[in-house]
């Protein structure tokens, strides 16, 4: 009951937010919240640390941008193209990465993401250093113009809410329970007869697809796709968002994403210090704050109850 009220309240907040805040900033925050939630599906609920999630986010951003600008597709189809491209990369890289465990998994995903990064540097359709710029938002279903920030915001919000509901559903499904059992004790899950590698791959592909959805949506909302979206720093950022908000909590990654995006927004004048501050946040989180913000709050509540 309390949960229902919480989610209803959050939905209401999302609906009123653009009347209070700046819609473009909110769209960006929502896209990163979705990105972090997708990432959390892997680290938080399956126990796999991917250090290369920028490859899905960034590549989908490029594909969606190309589809909208060069092919002239409508926004929903462009986003679909981007998302499916991330699924494709997810199947290939996941198939390779699940062969290794733990710390090696992190290194493999990082290296594969770097490969995608270099491909993006060289491929002609990404325009290397310039990126794809002034991507048109187009008309939803060919009817509703998305040029207005308010209209675009509600479109982005609808995507976010749908994807978030999907993640919620996955986590609370029998499939999600199997993933959690793999996180807790992989050997036991295996001995109970679950094909662990297949489950891991499915989780990986789902996570990649949703990360791609976030990237593609971000491209249309902000109108550009650049190398920043595929670089390793972006992979690190999404790890930080999730860690800060709380790994393995449903709402944590979104909270973390909003804080980090806001921080980058307000501290943009500080130049390279932003990198230093993010690094310091990492260190503090790992040393004293491993549950993250939402995890810590939930922990306090549980202790009281």
């Amino acid at each position: 009951m309390r949960q229902t009220i919480l989610y209803a309240g959050l939905l209401l907040a999302l609906l009123v937010a653009p009347w209070i805040g700046y819609p473009v900033f909110l769209m960006k925050a929502l896209c990163f919240a979705l990105f972090a939630s997708a990432f959390n599906l892997l680290i938080g609920f399956t126990g796999l640390l991917s250090f290369g999630h920028a490859m899905f986010f960034g590549f989908a951003a490029y594909v969606a941008g190309h589809a909208a600008k060069v092919w002239g597709l409508t926004p929903e189809v462009a986003i679909l193209c981007g998302t499916l491209s991330a699924t494709g990369i997810g199947v290939l890289t996941g198939w390779l990465a699940v062969r290794r465990q733990g710390i090696y998994f992190a290194m493999v995903t990082l290296a594969l993401a770097q490969m995608i990064y270099f491909l993006c540097v060289q491929a002609p359709f990404t325009y290397a250093e310039d990126g794809i710029q002034s991507i048109p938002r187009g008309q939803l279903l060919g009817v509703i113009g998305l040029g207005d920030d308010m209209v675009m915001y509600y479109f982005v919000m609808a995507i976010f809410v749908a994807a978030f509901a999907l993640i919620y559903r996955i986590v609370h499904s029998p499939f999600g329970q199997v993933l959690k059992s793999i996180r807790e004790n992989e050997a036991r899950a295996l001995s109970l007869g679950y094909q662990v590698d297949r489950y891991k791959l499915m989780a990986f592909v789902l996570s990649a697809t949703l990360a791609g959805l976030a990237g593609a949506t971000k491209t249309l909302a902000l109108g550009l796709a650049t190398l920043t979206d595929v670089g390793w720093q972006m992979s690190g950022e999404v790890v930080l968002m999730t860690l800060l908000g709380g790994m393995g909590t449903i709402l944590g990654p979104s909270v973390g994403a909003i804080i980090i995006v806001a921080m980058q927004n307000y501290l943009a004048d500080l130049g390279s210090w932003v990198t230093t501050i993010m690094g310091a946040t990492f260190v503090v989180c790992v040393l004293v704050f491993r549950r993250g913000i939402v995890g810590e709050i939930a922990h306090r509540f549980e202790r009281k109850a």
Partner: protein, 295 residues
């Protein structure tokens, strides 16, 4: 014969030489990673950043204090090792009971801090480091030119790798280390100061990275970004070789440097990705890595 597969032999040998130099750096860095991983069970993401710090120490010593290359070769790695001691004592020490992933995340944070600080003060364009006079010029072998400094780097890293291998595999100290890797508690019970050994291992591993940084300073530009550029390739090297074997790390590092050099000659577009492609192939054929053992 001056051409091989349509490529002038001179160019081919030149690139192989460069590949061997890059490979030397991969070897030293992945060796350090392997030593640290063996003892601390931590993948040290800050390794690349500390390599960068080593290069910057050498640059600062020369430009602010007029201290030359030879002295920097000793001072800078010691400075980096000292940073290592501080990191281990104040942070990594507390992560020993936790999942390995936290060590990776913490050292990633440290790498960001170091990179951010140096970028703030020195920009990201890169600073030149003057070669000592002894190393200026080339050996003329008739069929090719060998830049003196590159020969030095290759010989030096060969000696370093051999030395590390010898210490770990053949000395008493190395035996303690290896025993500590297998069962720290038991070794501690024999009266050996394991926490001190762990600290020194970390300091030694990052000191190696710092030394590699000093050696790299005259070849590449000294830049805050040099660390993150190389560390990801080194991670791929480590995945290919497996971190279980010292000799394996060295051979894989050198071999991949050579392959990268060859790729530059025959298929330049792929030279940035070839290491990752090889990693993918190794994952398919031998998931545990060339020299690794499945745990």
């Amino acid at each position: 014969m001056t051409e091989l597969f349509g490529v002038p032999i001179q160019a081919l040998l030149g690139q192989l030489m460069l590949g061997l130099v890059n490979g030397s750096f991969y070897a030293i860095l992945s060796l350090g990673l392997a030593v640290i991983f063996g003892m601390l069970n931590i993948v040290n993401f800050a390794h690349g950043a500390l390599y960068m710090v080593g290069a910057f120490f050498a640059w600062m010593l020369l430009n602010y204090a007029g201290i030359n290359y030879w002295a920097a070769l000793v001072i800078a790695p010691l400075g980096v090792a000292l940073i290592g001691v501080v990191i281990e004592k104040t942070m990594l020490q507390w992560l020993r009971q936790l999942d390995h992933l936290y060590g990776l995340l913490l050292t990633f944070g440290l790498a960001l801090i170091l990179e951010g600080v140096f970028r703030e003060f020195y920009g990201s364009s890169g600073l030149p480091y003057d070669l000592p006079d002894v190393f200026k010029g080339v050996f003329d072998l008739g069929f090719m030119m060998l830049p003196k400094y590159r020969i030095w780097v290759i010989v030096m890293s060969f000696v370093l790798c051999l030395f590390t291998w010898y210490v770990i595999e053949k000395t008493k100290l190395g035996a303690y280390l290896r025993a500590g890797t297998e069962n720290a508690q038991l070794v501690q019970a024999f009266g050996i100061n394991v926490p001190l050994m762990i600290t020194l291992t970390y300091a030694f591993g990052v000191g190696l990275a710092g030394l590699a940084g000093v050696m790299a300073a005259p070849i590449y530009q000294v830049s805050p970004l040099m660390g993150s550029n190389i560390i990801i390739v080194v991670f791929a090297v480590v995945v290919i070789g497996g971190m279980g074997s010292i000799l394996g790390s060295i051979l894989t590092g050198l071999g991949l440097g050579l392959i990268e050099g060859l790729t530059k000659v025959f298929f330049a577009e792929a030279s940035t990705t070839v290491v990752f492609v090889i990693m993918a192939i190794v994952l398919l054929l031998r998931p545990a890595g060339l020299f690794g053992r499945e745990k």
